[in-house]
């Protein structure tokens, strides 16, 4: 099957995709974008979170063909330029919210979505919005610090 979609602003055309592959598999193994992670492949951990046509989804639960013609944004597409970091990425780094980092891409995309919809979230709102992203290393405290500080920096 051929897959044609835009990822992080770039057109990708991939041939030979097996119909049962997920968008996550295509991103990682066929498009050279391994930033989205494969911690569970059942939608329980959020490590594969991406934007599909502007909506936050688990890419492991999107069938490859469903992304045909779609616009996908992954963690690799959030920074505005090659040598910069998105303010949310900066905030995660500065807060000590990254340990093994496997959950980090998914959390950064989910945080990006949260702050786009709700620029000044309360703590319960942050927790509810990030409840689909598991982290095993940090206990979430510094992730909360990172989200709060990213919100305070008033992301444009």
């Amino acid at each position: 099957m051929r897959l044609d979609c835009t990822v992080n602003g770039e057109r990708h055309q991939v041939d030979g995709v097996w119909e049962g592959e997920s968008l996550l598999y295509v991103l990682r193994e066929r498009m050279g974008l391994p930033g989205s992670k494969n911690a569970c492949e059942q939608g329980e951990c959020g490590s594969c979170s991406v934007y599909l046509d502007g909506t936050l989804v688990c890419s492991c639960l999107v069938l490859a063909g469903q992304a045909d013609g779609a616009e996908v944004v992954t963690v690799e597409g959030l920074a505005h330029a090659e040598h910069e970091l998105h303010p949310i990425q900066e905030a995660f780094l500065a807060a000590g919210a990254v340990q093994c980092g496997f959950c980090t891409p998914g959390l950064i995309v989910a945080t990006h979505d949260l702050l786009a919809r709700n620029p000044a979230p309360s703590e319960p709102e942050i927790r509810e919005a990030l409840a689909g992203n598991l982290c095993r290393c940090t206990g979430y405290e510094k992730i909360l610090d990172a989200v709060r500080s990213a919100a305070e920096a008033r992301i444009p």
Binding site: N38, C40, E44, L93, C100, T104, R127, E128, R136, G139
Partner: protein
């Protein structure tokens, strides 16, 4: 100038010891560009997969792979017959087959491996493998395994190890005790549940050897096992630690290392293996489930007179690190208290349950849950506040364990409890309309305030730091100082595995501190440098930090010699300009091993200085319990922990908070559920780890009481947060519900008072 180890003044350096330095790999990680072992790729790469036993115990009559091999895209299928060298491996005993030989002893045991051009092809091929099993009756009860020798799972019987600690005079103690409390406790099987799946890439090399990139915790122990099974000399197997997505003990044992290399060497192509999440639950060891029976005897004023404990740990099908877990349980069994008489018996047995091994806390978690429950019972019997009872019995520096070993470092049990006692409790919920998210059950709308009682619980725990009982534990560091683009640059090369904890960060901090050079690069960890030991036992910052320090000091000394030779005298200060002049084109490189004081094995009465050092942490948990539904919300966890010296304060806090989350998981929700040796919940749908909605705020008091003999006075920190947090949470639930709660994870049934169904 003073003697050995002293250094001349360094330029004041930023990002040295004691600062919350950013992780050097952080930028790559937040950009999604950090290469984890599951992200690796090589030209011409094949995908490997593992066929695993569906039975917990069975004989293998035959394996027929003609049909599978004929599938287009399949390049190789291998069984135990294809293992070139030693057919078994293991951390302590080489009792675990690389691929099953004639019998499988646990559900999920690897039987065959397949290499194919696409993971889907490999899976289909594995399905076509015809294995003829003769299922056998599995041995699944740990108590039965202690008593019965049939079925005999391994040659030397089903009791893998038993340790008997005898301290004082128990008979006299029993006569003396005025208060006696007993209890039986059970800990379910917890899983490390690291997020990065087991994975790696094996690339055959031209010299007939292999280059392996794998997520692991201990490169050199992997190397020894891989080389032995591949029948290759050590120099022809080169292992690099690829990016690790968390470990917590679950990567100390081999996963795909030998399998990937076998397929790569056979096919002549790179082979990548990535476990699925479901496979991961079968693919690594778990925390030992345990049954503990305790009796505490005390004087009327609550002072301990004796402790007896019978601890049984279910080691599952293969030995892994069970023998060491058994020892840790035995030596921590009486808790961080002054215990004048004790009989402590610790057993670890083989069963056909999944193999158990290292998980953060390593035997000390299980004993802590039991002894802290006992201490609360004793407090109640003595009419004392739980903190007071603990204060009266607390260890101090100099207190002897029931094994005879005196704690020669800080043993700040009272101090940690004082810190907690001084922390104000969180405000109670006000009477107004509650935000559902602040109630047990959350947005699932199970209560609007009905049935809620608040409870507070305390617990204190301890554990050894470093490997024990005479093990030759050490680390190695190679440090090279050179000029790069006109600036001095330090390269630090160790085999210490970064698993998320920040090993690479602290190595760089120590190098900066010693050498006063800002630019420090920590090279990838691989087997091209000497052994660093395991990233476990809370030891890596101590041991590898010590090796880095020593190698840096050797580099500094070498520089001073050069200065002496060239400039006729040692300078008072090694400024960057002077360093640049002394280095020029001629780098300075030193390699050092760091080896602290040797520990001793225990004798037949469980006596001996078996441990290097100890770490202590105390916890206070505040919970709201819906006593009608048995649902729990943890409101706050406060902790006080002694870390010796915080090399990187933010990283220390990260370890504390993360460890507490795992303790919370064991208290409330995490258990591998087994039925006759079969896993019932091998997925994140039903093996539940805490989400951000389950974790409360953590309030931490970090103490820095210098650990003698350790570099910079630091102490191991990573396991202490996981040891007593479970016990504190359950104590709080007991206070709220009035239930005895002798088992973790606590289920709603237990809180409500419904009996467990008979299995």
């Amino acid at each position: 100038m003073s003697g050995a180890g002293a250094s001349p003044a360094r330029s004041p350096v930023r990002e040295g010891i004691g600062e919350s330095v950013d992780r050097p790999d952080g930028t790559l990680k937040v950009r999604g560009e950090f290469a984890y072992s599951s992200d690796l790729w090589a030209d011409g790469m094949l995908w490997g997969t593992t066929l695993r036993s569906p039975h917990p115990y069975a004989r293998i009559r035959s394996i027929d792979f003609a049909e599978a091999l004929a599938l287009r895209g399949v390049h190789a299928i291998q069984t135990h017959e294809d293992v070139p060298g030693r057919k078994t491996y293991g951390l302590e005993l080489a009792d675990q087959p690389v691929l099953a030989i004639d019998v499988v002893r646990y559900e999920g045991e690897p039987v065959a491996i397949v290499a194919a051009d696409h993971p889907e092809t490999a899976r289909r091929a594995a399905e076509l493998l015809r294995v003829d099993y003769e299922p056998l009756e599995p041995l699944v009860d740990m108590d039965q395994a202690v008593e019965a020798d049939e079925p005999r799972l391994h040659e030397d019987g089903n009791v893998l190890r038993d340790i008997h600690v005898r301290h004082g005079d128990l008979e006299a103690a029993r006569a003396e005790a005025e208060l006696v409390v007993e209890g039986e406790y059970e800990i379910g099987m917890q899983d490390q549940a690291f997020l990065g799946p087991e994975s790696g890439l094996a690339i055959p090399s031209e010299d007939g050897g292999v280059d392996l990139y794998v997520a692991t915790q201990w490169l050199h122990v992997d190397l020894a096992q891989v080389a032995a099974s591949l029948d290759l000399p050590l120099e022809r197997v080169r292992i690099t630690n690829a990016g690790v997505g968390g470990a917590f003990g679950g990567r100390e044992d081999l996963s795909m290392q030998i399998h990937g290399c076998m397929l790569a060497l056979h096919t002549g192509r790179p082979v990548k293996m990535v476990y699925t999440r479901e496979e991961s639950f079968f693919g690594h060891v778990h925390r030992h489930p345990a049954r503990l029976r305790y009796e505490h005897g005390a004087a009327r004023d609550g002072r301990l007179v004796y402790v007896t404990a019978r601890i049984v740990l279910d080691g599952g099908a293969y030995a892994s690190s069970s023998r060491a877990v058994c020892l840790n349980a035995a030596t921590t069994a009486a808790g961080p208290y002054d215990c004048p008489n004790a009989e402590l018996d610790s057993y670890v047995v083989y069963t056909n349950n999944p193999p158990c091994g290292a998980m953060r806390g390593f035997g000390a978690v299980q004993t802590c849950f039991a002894y802290e429950a006992q201490m609360d019972k004793l407090a109640a019997a003595a009419g004392l506040d739980p903190l007071e009872l603990r204060r009266r019995n607390a260890m101090d520096t100099g207190t002897r364990l029931p094994t005879g070993q005196a704690i020669d470092g800080p043993a700040p049990v009272r101090q940690l409890l004082e810190e907690l006692a001084e922390m104000p409790l969180p405000a109670s919920r006000d009477g107004g309309a509650p935000d559902l998210r602040e109630l047990p059950g959350g947005v699932s709308n199970t209560t609007h305030g009905e049935g809620i009682r608040r409870g507070v619980g305390y617990a204190v725990g301890f554990k050894n730091v470093g490997f024990s009982a005479g093990f030759d534990d050490y680390s190695t560091a190679r440090v090279r100082l050179s000029m790069a683009s006109g600036e001095p640059q330090v390269e630090v090369h160790t085999a210490a595995c970064e698993v998320g904890q920040g090993a690479i960060t602290v190595q760089a901090q120590i190098a900066r501190e010693v050498l006063g050079v800002e630019r420090v690069i920590v090279l990838p960890s691989d087997t091209q440098v000497g052994n660093a030991g395991s990233s476990s036992a809370s030891r890596q910052t101590w041991f590898t930090g010590g090796a880095v320090r020593d190698a840096c000091e050797a580099v500094a000394a070498a520089l001073l010699s050069r200065a002496d030779e060239r400039l006729g005298g040692e300078p008072d200060e090694l400024s960057p300009d002077l360093i640049a002049e002394l280095i020029g084109d001629d780098a300075v490189e030193e390699t050092r091993e760091y080896r602290p004081r040797r520990t001793e094995a225990l004798d037949e009465n469980g006596q001996g200085d078996a441990h290097l050092a100890f770490c202590f942490a105390a916890h206070r948990a505040v919970v709201d319990v819906d006593v009608e539904l048995g649902l729990v919300r943890v409101v706050e966890i406060a902790t006080a922990q002694d870390v010796g010296r915080a090399i990187n304060p933010v990283a220390v806090e990260g370890q504390v908070e993360g460890g507490i989350a795992q303790g919370l998981g064991l208290a409330l929700m995490e258990e591998i559920q087994l039925s006759e040796g079969r896993l019932r919940n091998a997925s994140f749908t039903d093996y539940l780890i805490p989400t951000i909605l389950d974790m409360p705020p953590v309030r931490a008091a970090i103490l820095e009481l210098p650990q003698p003999e350790a570099p910079y006075g630091l102490n191991g920190i990573a396991e202490a947060p996981t040891i007593a947090s479970t016990a504190a949470i359950v104590a709080a639930i007991r206070a709220a519900s009035g239930r005895e709660l002798t088992r973790v994870p606590v289920r709603p049934d237990d809180v409500v008072g419904l009996a467990a169904p008979v299995a």
